[in-house]
Amino acid sequence: MYDIIGYYEAETVSEATALLAENPNLRLIAGGTDVLIKMHGGQIEDAELLSLRKIKSLEIIRKAEDGTIVIGAMATFTQVFHDPILRELIPILTEAAISMGGPQIRNIATIGGNVCNGATSADSASSLFALNAHLKLEDHQGERVVPIREFYLGPGKVALKPGEILTEILISPADYQGFGGRYIKFAMREAMDIATLAVSVICKLQGKKTFDQVRIGLGVAGPTPLRCLEAEAYAQGKEVSVETVAEIGKRAVNSAKARTSWRASKDYREHLVEELVQRALKIAVVNAGGAELV
């Protein structure tokens, strides 16, 4: 038995935000693969749950007229992995989705829950950071949109205000059109494991030989997922070469705030950042239409 003292269900977003406004103690539950585990471990007690599971409108993944990709917060990882739009336009997210947990977990865990749980190891996070995703947050009075980089505040802490619900994840065309990318999850096992490091890189080229833009998202390289802004700024306008890529790898380490944990030491994680950013970027270059770097 879970330590639940109240359970409410909403069928629409407005119903959910109204319930949340009435009772700010309600804890949102989506797939439950984080919330129920925390309850099991005694980290959450006397929970009053507000389930979002019956809000069908939040399960939709679509491309809006202006090209913005809209992912409903209740889309499961299985759904994200199989979605034809996402597979075609932002495969670094679908690859991240299939790397998470096992099939039973992916069938129920949601992308919105993954983001709101605030873990640096969230498998969707490095890709959503690289893609400059924006999050639509709604409460009973209205909505606001925040960039994902401003949403993660610390381990397990996100910028969700009392009464707010994450409803949609938005990726605008300027953040994916013309980019090629690569996602690499480094873990001890190929399934059912938490990343030692997650790297998501996208790049856009001018012609075939010059970097126009590079974006690097890292998970588990700091207390929150992060971007390697120094390396990204360095890359702009540089020739696509093994040397440039090596320098980008080195500079990426400057943005990482790796620490020693039982999973890996700080030195090892920094080594992984330098190496995996290069590997991911080399494949991203090819996916962006450039030549293979040897």
């Binding site: 038995m1 639940i4 693969t33 129920l36 389930s51 099939p103 977990i105 059912m192």
Partner: protein, 168 residues
């Protein structure tokens, strides 16, 4: 706090009040006697508690009983025919010696059954990926993998026979 839900298990309809604190696993085992679903880790890592919800595998230990409202649940008890004849997947598990202590077997048979029922074709790597949410501490997985491959081959063959007009 209790909530009334309507659902089915192995085709049998139920309609009663569940405790909001209950997991689907607890409801199936303690209240309805479907003890084929096992409690292993209790946190969705081992897959021993897997059941099919509307044909897809879920870890029933981290699935609240109230979420079963309107769903069709399949447990291992519902896999064999009513007369007790083993399903094609169960036969493949027996033939390949994919069972030792048996604790992980109900979940693995159900996930394999979901794969067979999907009608999709799977590569060896994809089969491994689909089975990755189940831990087996006895077999080393080779027998399980072979059993899953055999189950899927069988399904392809039977479909081929159907396509050829051979209805046995």
């Amino acid at each position: 706090m209790f909530k009334r839900i309507a659902f089915s298990v192995n085709g049998k309809a139920f309609n009663f009040e569940v405790d909001i604190r209950e997991s689907l696993l607890e409801m199936l085992r303690n209240r309805l006697g479907y003890t084929g679903a096992k409690k292993g880790c209790g946190v969705g890592e081992c897959g021993a508690c897997s059941v099919l919800v509307d044909g897809k595998p879920y870890d029933s230990c981290i699935y609240l009983a109230v979420w079963a409202d309107g769903k069709a649940i399949t447990t291992i008890e519902g896999v064999a025919s009513k007369t007790g004849e083993l399903s094609q997947v169960q036969k493949a598990f027996v033939d390949e010696g994919a069972v030792q202590c048996g604790f992980c077997t109900p979940g693995l048979v159900l996930t394999t059954t979901a794969m067979v029922d999907s009608g999709k074709e799977y590569t060896r790597d994809e089969i491994k990926r689909e089975l990755s949410g189940h831990l087996c501490r006895c077999t080393g997985y080779q027998g399980i993998l072979k059993a899953a491959e055999k189950s899927l081959d069988g399904s392809n063959n039977s479909k081929k026979e159907l396509r050829n007009g051979n209805y046995e």
